[in-house]
Amino acid sequence: MTDKSQANEQRPDSAAASQIAPALAIELSGINKHFGPVHANKDIDLKVARGSVHGIVGENGAGKTTLMSILYGFYTADSGEIRVGGKQVTINDSSHALELGIGMVHQHFMLVDNFTVLENIILGAEDSSLLQPSLDKARKVLAQLADEYELNVDPDALIEDLSVGAQQRVEILKALYRGADILILDEPTGVLTPSEADHLFRVLETLRAQGKTILLITHKLREIMAITDEVSVMRQGAMVKTLQTKDTDPAELAELMVGRRVLLRVDKGESVPGDVKLAVEDFVVKDDMGITRVKGINFEVRAGEIVGIAGVSGNGQSDMLEAISGMRKAASGKLLVKGQEIIIDGDDGAAKMRDMGVAHVPEDRQEQGLVVTFEQWENAILGYQDDDAYGEGVFLSIPAARAEANEHIKKFDIRPANNRLKVANFSGGNQQKIVLAREMSRDPDVLIVGQPTRGVDIGAIEFIHNQIVAMRDAGKAVLLVSVELDEIRSLADRILVMFDGHIVGEADPATATESELGLLMAGVSNDDVSVSNGASVSNQENVALKASDEKSAERNMQGESK
């Protein structure tokens, strides 16, 4: 893709640059860090060339963030050496890191929501005890930086009124305002829409061109391939390997991350659609503010197929999910389960849907799917606690619930295998498995899944995807909503694209290209696309591609997926 060719052009340059000036921006050697019994960083060595983009990949809990927090002075290492620009330093707190020219853009933004952009920029970097001179200076510097790096934000806007992408720009500006030469970005695209992510990458390329050094922490291999010069892989607290990005590929990186071969592509056969199990007709949903989010949609999901809803987040998917799962009353339209119309009215909607055999894995597992301060066995029966299987009348049969929980742990390989552990203490991937296990174990007819792998590491993603496909193969109707286009493309049998509350198009994942889907997601309707492309031609091409070189197509898929 274009990403690749761009990256290829740049790599020789930076390689040449590093031969002329082999200066290292950062050199870490023998870094160790323990948190109680957990050895979070084991003898880490890392060299980062000046003026390069250096990626650090690893699963959740591999120790990436800990390592960067040590570099940023948030934690201090138990042992080891840090060199910045060739000089050995000890970094005890963030202000020291800032003095050394190290800035960090955190995964969860470190911004004060009800402050203006300017106030956030100067916080901690005020020049005098009165604010006004610093504010005036920051306004000037910001205007300059905005021109230089395409980092535009209204300096007087409150943070809470800004989009997530703009908030991230403020974080980057904050670091640049403090004179950062080395910029650490922790999972920067996790919260961004695809277009915001593209914007971020353009900014990073400009920063690199200006001689800044960038450390990019991510678990998205595609981003690593697209923008980095070098990539270091971490696993279980140790640095596994550092590679030139041009010499590696996603499959190799995934294997290094997980420690075994990982199938990046979901292995699934043809779907065999049966009867319609779930359908919506002229479905309209309003949110709490009374704003219409879903504007009259129609679709059906048949037994034995996965229907994927693609779209940039915030186009009505969440409200649709809430209405279909019974958590929210639809403003108008029909919701049909197995041909029977369901009227959601009152607070028992979710229970009603569950009784109808509709299982729901909510988008936000911590807010909607789990009670994180409860133990795993309690969460394993959440929503089904009134079942007679767990005791009659007002009594709860704890042994029955525990047995059920153990069953889930075994079947879904939930780790640690301890049903008395509070859910908050499980990793994101295991939390998601707890929800999936609960919803899938009831033998539902319909499975509604929202963002199944958000914040889940690559090994667990593979497992979760296989479970969803297994549900389909068992003849369940699956509705999948995800903002990860790769996920939709590899799982779904049919793709519906949602934009501004409408279903703007349907695509076949086998033939639709990423750019076609991208256009749909941006609100350009199907007809427009086929007019510009010539539908018949592209179909023929696709058939030819399928027949002649299935292997190369497969390779393309791998390059594009995470």
């Binding site: 963030s94 956030n120 916080l123 005890s129 009165l130 604010l131």
Partner: protein, 323 residues
Amino acid sequence: MEFFETLVLLLASTIRLTVPLLLACLAGLYSERSGIFDIGLEGKMLAGAFGAATVAALTGSAWLGMFAGIGVSVAMALIHGVASITFRGNQIISGVAINFLAAGLTVLLGQTWFKQGGRTPQLNGDARFNDIDLPFVDQLADVPFLGSIYTHLISGHNILVYIAFATVPLTYFILFKTRFGLRLRASGENPKAVDTAGINVNAMRFKAIIITGILCGLAGAYLSTAQSSGFIKDMTAGRGFIALAALIFAKWMPIPALFACLLFGFLSALGNFLQGVELPIIGEVPVQLIQAMPYILTVILLAGFIGKAVGPKAGGIPYIKER
């Protein structure tokens, strides 16, 4: 004319009753803006009042008394700080403990030292803050309306009244125009952002609660050495809680805090004024109802009828750096 004179006297009384509320309210503002809930305003004020009256009685100097009151109140604030900032204890529990400590200790020490049933000796002369007459009072006294306003409302108060009202613009300036204020507010909203910006969150919070202690001490000194002439048991009479209500009512902003305190001060002046008065139609005024108004208004506010009161986001949560 008689009605006008009455109104002026009522307003003058309002000002005098507003002062302790205002000082305590601003005290709470500093603490809560930095992220430390302070339900112990009442206790700090009471301890400050006792300290001020005791030292004023012993030395005969109201000023020395005031500094002693501030010292005692700051010490109480530091207890709250050590418990809730250093040891990350529950701020509400710590605040309640401060209130109990002050209520018990003042009476116990008062009885032990002075043997007057928990009172301190009567303060006279320089041991009290006396009312100050501003220039031209005599000349203006006979001017209709204006003279009355000048002599009773603007002039004729003790120095602490002027200090209290001057604290409002000062607080506004500190909070919104200085580096200290920016960092203070940020500590109460998102302490992690403050920490990553290289600022010590706990140090900021300690600075804030020391200011809280100073202002509570002033409020206490006002009660025992300016408004009254000595300390009596439980003399704060819930003012710390009304100040807290005013703080919520003012949405943690200094200028609205002034008006909230004036409103609550006016209500209590009105309550005093109408005691036992028979009005046409209504009959005897239910003074308790007027006295309860600050709380009723705050409940109405919190229920969302008058806008929305959202406190500092990180309020009440101890800051923990490492996970």
